[in-house]
Symmetry: C2
């Protein structure tokens, strides 16, 4: 375990992992008081910032450090994707206990670097300090062509509700991880999705550029918690068909449906399209696109119950203030 | 003490303090997946992110919550000022224990709002969660006209070293606060500087726009820690004249000099100007500008000792990895 003489040494270690530190749009990266980012003419900046805290968002004894590195950036980038934007650069605030500055840090930075490369998103700067637990705050700056952003507020009555990929798989992966003795089987798809989620940047860009989506957000806390937010922003209601949910494989149907409704951490895109887009595809590359419901009048989310009647869909996803986990 | 039903309720409470949430350049603020910021044509974005953590950067039992709110934004904005930029908007990541969601939060948001107004810097978004201690991470996005930024790396041999305001006053204010029984005398200038520092945005802009400063940074960790960073970036040395330091008033000279050399949290600007700028003023508005040394060959910071000979200036400012406090 190497320890750092001082903060400057830690900053140098981080910077070393992310060479070269400048690129296309990042005129000045780590090492000065602030970073300089050159926006492309005619674009808007897309800004988002996310917590990723030991004990709340990850468990040090269960989550491999390279997953912590990957995921802290991927989940913030997912917010950029949810607007239809492209991530460009990010700021990393990292607070570490002394026993996480050696092997843990090295593996964490490895995972973060892989995510940064995969997203083509450069490390621009941040802040480091000591703390008793590992604290991470990631800010991503993205870009979107002016007027092409897709907000949560654009859904209209009659619009069709779609979701990408599968729902509930990451939560299933978390269950697998909790039961595991610390060894991670990387061939388990659900576990992989929990540890190394892939933000749907290309899909988001396509839906925005082609003006296909009327409203969009990412599913991070779980469908039952996130969907009411889209409805509230758009001033509409929604009716979900549970039989249509793209559930994880290899689980009994009822359990799978519960996971798909309330499981968090999927980072799939939830979006609405006009019913006039009749030819909307069911795939984007290899990624499944599934119609799971329809926007209605009224407000709030409902689901078709066992008797075939609409019932309220109660928010039961991840909420740090409700102490569900 | 009102507690929040869920995360959305907390976000609404924060947003309520910062109405209106859109403005000139902020096309979309709190409430969607990300914020939309419209850069002015021909400017570069200036990006910085800072920790402000209970126990490390502030003490809950000593620091008034409105000071925590003010200072978490002011110190991040100081990094923008240190490049010569203007703060435009910010993202607030806030993690709170339940017992800080009532009165504490209200007062914190009040101080933050005052700082935001004073800096003309809009709240664009962020993230909230629960934690055992109060954790704050603030990202500020600023702007600067292309090519006008002042880096740490521009100092040349022979350049004159200047600092704004006084040095060591905030550290003196911290000493006053530590000795106080929790009651804060707002008339104490040193205490005020510790609790409500004013980032030198206008001075930084002027030095950048007029191309006066060759190198610049803010003094946040203390002169003896920060000055070597400017030297390293510029590949030069520096010789400080301790007799010239703008020390706090009302303290014995030797103690005042030690505070000025090593005290943190001043958020003054440290900058170099060409020796050809003979008519450089000693005031900027009401703010003192003091020549405290000169850039030399070699590397690292030296100080004129008691015998009149240059001696090494050892870094003894704030460093979380050196456990000085």
């Amino acid at each position: 375990m190497n320890r750092f003489r001082d903060e400057d040494a830690l900053v140098k270690e981080i910077a070393r992992h992310f060479l070269p530190s400048r690129g296309r749009k990042l005129r000045l990266g780590i090492g000065d008081d602030a970073a300089l980012w050159q926006p492309t003419p005619g674009v808007a900046g897309v800004l988002t910032s996310d917590w990723f805290l030991e004990g709340s968002h990850f468990l040090r004894e269960k989550h491999p450090p390279d997953s912590v590195g990957w995921k802290c950036l991927a989940r913030a980038a997912s917010d950029i994707a949810a607007m239809g934007g492209k991530p460009r650069c990010f700021l990393l605030n990292l607070a570490l206990p002394e026993n996480a500055t050696g092997k843990w840090l090295n593996s964490f930075l490895g995972g973060l670097r892989r995510a940064a490369r995969s997203l083509d998103c450069l490390l621009a700067g941040g802040d480091t300090t000591r703390s008793e637990r590992i604290l991470i705050s990631v800010t991503v700056i993205g870009e979107i062509a002016e007027g092409r952003e897709v907000l949560r507020s654009g859904a209209d009555v009659g619009d069709l509700l779609y979701v990408s990929g599968t729902l509930g798989e990451a939560e299933h992966g978390l269950q697998v991880l909790r039961k595991s003795g610390g060894k991670v089987n990387h061939k388990n798809g659900a576990l992989r999705k929990h540890l190394y989620p892939e933000p749907r940047v290309e899909l988001g860009c396509w839906l925005a550029e082609q003006k296909l989506a009327t409203a969009m957000m990412d599913v991070s806390d779980g469908l039952s918690s996130d969907l009411p937010r889209l409805c509230a922003a758009s001033g509409v209601g929604v009716l979900v068909d549970p039989g249509k949910l793209p559930t994880p494989h290899g689980i009994a149907q009822e359990a799978a449906t519960q996971l798909a409704l309330h499981g968090g951490d999927d980072y799939e895109l939830l979006f609405t399209i006009s019913p006039r887009k009749a030819a909307f595809p069911s795939q984007f590359g290899k990624l499944r696109l599934t119609r799971i419901g329809e926007i209605t009048t009224g407000h709030g989310a409902r689901i078709i119950g066992k008797e075939g009647n609409p019932e309220p869909l109660h928010a039961a996803g991840w909420d740090p203030f409700r102490k569900r986990r």
